[in-house]
Symmetry: C2
Subunit: 352 residues, 2 copies
């Protein structure tokens, strides 16, 4: 269940933040995988969306989004062929971080008869994807610029670990270090005669730092529309809770069994992703979701609390919104707990 | 990916085990959520399937399964109404563990104009669902027997914690304690003039103990068809690895990024459920999947190992098969790594 008014405020706040600093906003569709929500973001001024999977990109295009950036490495030929096909009608770009990735993208673009804009992912310290700043990155950009059907678009510069760092100072410092690395990479590229148009990155926890850096040209936050318990646990600049965006996404469950000070509800690890901590029970209050089975959540409360009974509803706040949405086929849009709409989550799935 | 020959052996072995002890086999469809696999189980002699959700039951019926037992509490009226509708054409039974559950089932059966067979779930010590052995259980059975449109079918007697206990002695002892509790409940019921036709339970880790107990009339294992790393880690009677059933289910991923002794593959927490431990890499060997991001798995290996390169495939063994299958829309059937068929996972989803 998404509370539509809260999500609308989150969408508006992020759009204002991007406009304030004059950077483009390209929200990450991996968070919602839902065409209706992507359209709300674009209607509020987003230039398009990021996707993580080709399947997501196809679903977003089918939902009317024209400008799609695949902010991830795509290697397998069947996936790249589908992406190239999409590029005939959509504005498509993607990230690479290796010569093998470059060759794979070039082959698909050539075979598909399209031009692809390709960004190079920079390893900013996450030990995940990306090329570390240095000569290998400049070489890759040079090869890219010299490859038919490909165009060097800029840098994918997402600093994953910065997003959930608990203090604002950590998130600011990690972003500052990322910015310093990007400046150095951009300097090397300029010296090599390669223009770097786009620097894209920043997530829900760091948008303001990235936006105000003067280096990022584009933001790609995802979770801000929904928020979740993990983002709710980080601090703002004053040391208080991070409240730039409000929690809008919940899982509603029914109590199916109850005894003394404990109960079972019908939302377990198949309904709320166990990637992260257990969900919080936001309503009714004073209930703890203390364990997740595949099909059940286990609830308990202190003696004296009213607790819950069989048939009661509980509203759960997931710790990690992205993989939780990915479990569901439909998202129920509500205003103040009243159902208003139901949207398909078209791009759900581990995907292509 | 499921290796069809291995799964076929698992299906045959379980069928033999049930026949040996003269108990019915009703495999749990929550493990595969796939009509094609359910049909293979029924073709091998299963009397029908268990489901955990009404949506699963509907999907199984649509796939040709005629006898469906909902081994879980269903409380919400819209779900029960759909189950009652299904009972017009399918053989449907379900479990309850409370007077509220009884009332809800009775209302749905009455409104739907159908008779429902209802089992009472016994709390065998898992602190989950179920009524503890004692007078309250007998009272509930008495009320059930006296309720129009409902028929008391027997006992749901699944001992969850016994399934993954690491030593065979623990699993045997926990099953023996469950059997003792069931015998006592059955005695109380008989004394009250209530016949208990079915005692259903037992899972992959305890089928032989349940089957040979003389008390269980029906087995409901799920994971045995696929197996997973968690079941692969339990011991058999000799203290060696539990090899009654072999691992048949894998997630194939592509390496998308690699550097030095580490790499990223495109199967993270959205492709392999994080409910449980991280997956094992079964091929190539000597690779460790050491962390899962939402979209990526992080791999590493020792210096000197060949490792993997961008574009290589890795075959992952999930720790927990049920919630991993639930992430996917299709299951690829292979023989010796060659694709032979693709089946929809019709009942995927957190469901109704």
């Amino acid at each position: 269940v998404v509370e539509l008014d809260v999500m609308a405020r989150n969408i508006a706040r992020m759009a204002i933040e991007a406009r304030r600093y004059g950077v483009a906003l390209r929200p990450h569709a991996k968070a919602h995988k839902c065409g209706a929500i992507a359209r709300l973001q674009v209607d509020a001024g987003a230039v398009g969306v990021c996707c993580q999977k080709v399947w997501e990109a196809e679903a977003m295009f089918a939902a009317g989004i024209k400008d799609i950036y695949l902010s991830n490495q795509v290697i397998a030929a069947p996936k790249l062929d589908r992406l190239a096909k999409l590029a005939r009608t959509a504005q498509v770009s993607l990230a690479i971080d290796s010569p093998a990735g470059l060759e794979a993208a070039a082959r698909a673009a050539r075979d598909g008869g399209v031009d692809l804009t390709v960004l190079i992912e920079v390893d900013l310290g996450d030990a995940r994807n990306g090329v570390p700043p240095g000569p290998a990155l400049v070489d890759l950009a040079r090869r890219l610029s010299a490859t038919g059907n490909l165009r060097f678009g800029g840098l994918q510069a997402y600093r994953s670990q910065a997003q959930h760092a608990s203090t604002a100072a950590e998130r600011r410092d990690l972003t500052a270090a990322a910015v310093a690395a990007i400046v150095s990479v951009r300097y090397d590229l300029t010296k090599a005669g390669i223009e770097c148009q786009v620097v894209t990155g920043g997530g829900t926890g760091t948008v303001s730092y990235a936006a105000s850096s003067g280096v990022y040209t584009e933001l790609q936050p995802g979770s801000y529309i929904f928020m979740d318990a993990a983002y709710g646990a980080i601090e703002d600049e004053s040391g208080g809770p991070f409240r730039c965006f409000d929690t809008a996404l919940f899982v509603e469950a029914t109590v199916t069994s109850a005894r003394e000070e404990r109960a079972m509800c019908d939302a377990g690890a198949k309904a709320v992703s166990p990637a992260g901590a257990l969900p919080l029970v936001v309503a009714p209050t004073d209930i703890v979701y203390y364990a997740a089975d595949d099909e059940h959540g286990r609830l308990r409360w202190h003696p004296g609390s009213p607790g819950v009974r069989v048939g009661d509803r509980v509203r759960l706040l997931p710790d990690n919104c992205d993989p939780t949405v990915n479990l569901h086929d439909w998202i129920v849009g509500a205003r103040n707990w009243r159902v208003e709409t139901v949207w398909p989550i078209e791009a759900r799935g581990p995907g292509l």
